[in-house]
Amino acid sequence: MVGEAEHGHRLTELLRSNTDAVVAGWVEAVATTLRGRTTGAELERDFRELFTSLLPVASGDGRDLTGHSYAELRSLLGELSRSRARQNFSPTETASSVFALKQVVFQLVDDQDDPELFRQALAFSNLLDGLGLLTFEAYARAREEIIKEQSEQLLELTTPVVKLWEGVLAVPLVGTLDSARTQVVMEKLLEALVETGSEHAIIDITGVLAVDTQVAQHLLKTVVAARLMGAECTISGIRPQIAQTIVALGIEFGDIATKATLADALRHALRREGVEVVRQGERRAV
Amino acid sequence: MTPRPDEPEELPIRADDDVVRVRQLVRTYAQQVKLSLVDQTKLVTAASELARNTLVYGGGGFARVGTTTVDGRTGIRASFHDEGPGIPDLSLALADGWSSGKGMGLGLSGARRLVDEFDLDTAVGRGTVVTVVKWKR
């Protein structure tokens, strides 16, 4: 690399004195594939910035891109990849933005007809390969972040708190309950109690596949927290298998009301609200 | 990977209102790191307990609060230092009997449940340092 330094100069100088042409060529090479989804002006701006940070390290061979001298480049490429990921470009489209520079540089070098320059261009090409891979990785990380955000949003959506009656809310829990999910549910339910001014909540676990100690503890904590706030919770939908599991695990629900069905729980809550439901034609409470 | 302590801030704990100041400082940091509301509340409550311990049982000391980043995860680290008598019986201090009000009242076991990481460094005659971390989820 030390021996390359004075030679690297030549390619760098060539690139530097042809900046505008190279950037324009770069933009054009990429514009066709990204056409419509990003403006020429944006591309020009992004690539010019990238080009400017490439010049100081153009003499390197890109063998170790984790070094301090590549810090700015890494940061710029990371930004570019993240924004492309969010805009739903494919990983190839994102990485090819970097690779596209190669053909432009080779075109420029070809015109010079200088074998030494050509060797330097090859080394530069290796550098671009390394950078292209970097964008790939940054892209992958950005996509993971997006997936994580979306699954959190999904979590929010699939835990609806419904109002069954004045002052009676219900949360139907479905599927597998993990720690994170149960906490989200807990928080949503408690917030809803305050917002709607409801004093009763029914947590229905008919759709829950399995109840283990942790899940049961979360449920208990929710009920105790609701009590602290001045509301009562009933747990409904206790299936026979679940009942056996709970007893076997030695979980005590104490004085917390538990009912077999949501209907029973609703009746229980209504009674506590002082509401009597009577079938027409009969004077008997249902 | 060693944690990067990002320039922690120190607050003396010498009087009652210092406990309030510690709460406010911890809350500011928690909000900065965008901890969820529930996590913020848990952390600040734990800090309140520990700051009070420092004052009441440790004879005063100081708190050190700052952000911390380990392996891409960001969080808040808070440590509470005193040069008090130290805790002679850890198992007793960490037991759950305190909430009845009759126990040593150190609130350590409760505070521990509110945070993700809890470290207690104490020795009779040497004082106590309690360090807690809450990560952004």
Binding site: M186, E187, L190, E191, L193, V194, G197, S198, E199, K221, V224, A225, A226, R227, L228, M229, G230, A231 | D16, D17, V19, V20, R23, Q24, R27, L37, V38, Q40, T41, K42, V44, T45, S48, E49, R52, D96, W98, S99, G101, G105, G107, S109, G110, A111, R113, L114
Partner: protein, 128 residues
């Protein structure tokens, strides 16, 4: 040190906590309440914590203490407006409020006290 103001509404004393309480303020509040209940013959105390973001063990025990003091004066206590985050934290902390009554909001809290006071034959009695 700030003292928490105590309002008298009919036969009920209302305490609305708006500040970040330091321990001395807690003790002062307990003292002040004891005095006011005794002086007014109030049959109920409402502690409104809807503006409170942090309840630690010390403040938590304050509620239980106030409830005990009130009981000695034949008065009931209700804590109202606890925020969800606070409730969740208290549960994690393992702190029970020692059976102190709670209600979602001030209105409900007052209603409860009214009912309780009636049961005891206390409401309708002239405050001193």
């Amino acid at each position: 040190m700030e003292r928490v103001p105590i309002l008298k509404i009919g036969g009920v004393l209302l305490v609305s906590i708006q500040i970040d309480l330091q321990d001395q303020s807690v003790l002062a509040l307990q003292e002040d309440l004891a005095e006011r209940i005794s002086a007014t013959g109030a049959h109920g105390v409402v502690i409104d914590i809807s503006a409170v973001e942090i309840v630690d063990s010390f403040i938590g025990r304050m509620f239980a203490t106030i409830a005990s003091i009130s009981r000695l004066f034949d008065a009931d206590t209700v804590v109202v407006g606890m925020r969800p985050a606070v409730a969740i934290t208290l549960v994690e902390l393992g702190l029970t409020l020692g059976g102190v009554r709670t209600a979602l909001d001030l209105e409900r809290g007052m209603k409860i006290l009214e009912t309780l006071g009636r049961d005891r034959g206390r409401t309708g009695r002239e405050a001193r």
